[in-house]
Amino acid sequence: MEREAIQEDESGRLEPSVTEMIQRAKRRRLLDREASVRLGIMRHVYIILDLSQAMSEQDLKPTRQICTLKILEDFIQEFHDQNPISQLGIITTQNKVAKRHSELSNNPQRHLDCIKKLRELPARGEPSLQNSLEVALSSLRHLPPHTSREILIIFAALTTCDPGEIAATLQKVKDANIRVSVVGLAAELHVCKEISKDTGGSFSVSINDLHLKELIHEHLEPPPASVKMDHTLIKVGFPHQINADAKPALCMWHLFPLKHFDEIVAEEISTKHCYGCLKQFTGCTADKRVYVCRTCKQVFCFNCDIFLHETVHSCPGCASNPTISQFNSN
């Protein structure tokens, strides 16, 4: 937040303008997530973690290695919550070689155990991008064509020590229709940028621990599906009942994201309370803008708008309208 951006209101108070900025920032994040693209839902993701000498730097506290592993712990939990039919694997690279520490699987516990072991592993030597891509490639290559194949590289070093020409590997990666994204801990590297650009992935460099967490967690959501992906019908058995311990993982909202609501100045409409939570619009700063569902035209307050889009993913206004709810389902 920049200093100049904060303005006093007529009564000389700062609070209203701060409230407004926070609200705007929250909404912007929602709007960024434009929802019309087709997403790859069955994901197979390899995390390539740099464990070279550079990871022992202390610019992230306590060290880059510990900080990153902590973030990955959260990431793994969330990933399996939000992507129940996807799989994750972990590869590390140090001393010029790459090693697969955890095979592709959808069991979060296995990955968490692996992360725990990696904490004990001293960071040393140089990383090898080529070797680690090859390792990931060898396993991703054989997956069925209707799945989304992804690699997420977390890279701290400024060099890579490769046995051959990395361009050749890059071509193979591209042919295998794998999307590679890189999150850098130190600086922008040309080779990383090239890889992610060529494969349709994203590239970013973190500025601090919070930013790093944000960047890594961006990969929780499924990426747009590649055009080269095939589609098939898969036979799936549905259980009549399951044992009490195993709660089913259900996650549907990626498929049918809730459309954005229109932002409207509260004074322009006659509705004086939120359709969802009954909150009265009093005209204070938080209520200055209200949000209208484009389909059912019901009015919601700011908090409900955020909650509906981030958590609920369906509009109670539409669900309370017989015409819309029938139409939607067909």
Binding site: R38, G237, F238, L250, M252, L278, C315, S325
Partner: protein
């Protein structure tokens, strides 16, 4: 927890099929209102919200946006309850409308649950000390289920689970698999009674206690929960279905094109068999 009070959100089904028998209407409404009364009377800090749903709309019955107050006690009832009851009963009656074509419709319960969740969420954000609000939702349902709101239901269940709010379900007549899933996912109770006349006793026995007290009382034997999904083409529950690899739409038989996301399926390849893994 007991001292903190609890917010009860009641979702009451007012489907027109209820109106077919006047005695049922009376029993049904008085059971719902009595239950609300007991909840409010049991603890000073208990609070209540009532949302009704029929096949046309959902409506907040309590608290009311425009507060009309009753003047004086009419009988020996607690004064606060008089006010609550009066407004609820009037509105409930208003919303029961006979409809000849009602057979093909279902009540918009999922919309009402959604609004209830937003209401709970608001109480939580408005709490001065930022404490967790102990809230639960009770759905009383009488109408049949057509499965047309499947997605909305699942979304509300997952939300309830996320904000750790149990969703209790009491259905009258025939079992409702979809709502049973909701109770199971969110940690609430599910029960089915045969007759409207049994409703009040069942509500008191099973749903009056708050979540903590429930652990100290006997529970009904757990039913097995039917987790089958409804197919998108005929809305029937399937044991073995075909799932679109792109959008996970469920079809009861092989189709060449997904009607949800419009992709064309590759048929030259052999279909992969995946057993959906649990855990």
């Amino acid at each position: 927890m007991a001292g903190d009070g609890c917010l009860l959100v009641m979702v009451v089904d007012l489907h027109p099929q209820l109106a077919e028998q006047e005695s049922n209407v009376h029993n049904y409404l008085s059971a719902c209102i009595s239950f609300a009364n007991i909840h409010l009377a049991a603890n000073v800090k208990n609070t209540l919200a009532v949302i009704a749903a029929n096949h046309l709309e959902t409506r907040f019955l309590y608290p009311q946006i425009t507060g009309k107050t009753v003047d004086r006690q009419k009988d020996g009832r607690l004064e606060l309850l008089c006010q609550v009851d009066e407004s609820i009963e009037r509105e409930l009656r208003n919303m029961i409308v006979p409809d000849p074509k009602a057979d093909q419709t279902e009540s918009l319960i999922s919309g009402a649950i959604g609004r209830g969740l937003l209401y709970i969420k608001r109480q939580e954000t408005e709490d001065v000390l930022g404490k967790k609000v102990h809230a639960r939702i009770l759905v009383v349902k009488i109408s049949l289920d057509t499965g047309s709101q499947y997605l909305n239901y699942i979304n509300t269940y997952l939300t309830a689970q996320k904000i750790s709010t149990p969703l209790d379900v009491c259905v009258i007549g025939s079992d409702c698999g979809l709502l049973q899933q909701g109770a199971d996912i969110s940690g609430g109770y599910y029960h089915c009674v045969q007759e409207v006349s049994e409703l009040l006793q069942c509500l008191i026995l099973m749903y009056q206690a708050d979540v903590v007290t429930r652990k100290k009382l006997n529970v009904p034997p757990p039913d097995s929960v039917d987790y089958r999904a409804a197919c998108f083409c005929h809305r029937t529950l399937v044991d073995m279905g075909n799932v679109c690899s792109n959008c996970l739409s469920v079809y009861c038989k092989a189709v060449p094109l997904c009607t949800t996301c419009n992709v064309i399926f590759q048929t030259d390849r052999p279909l992969m068999k995946i057993v959906k893994k649990k855990k």
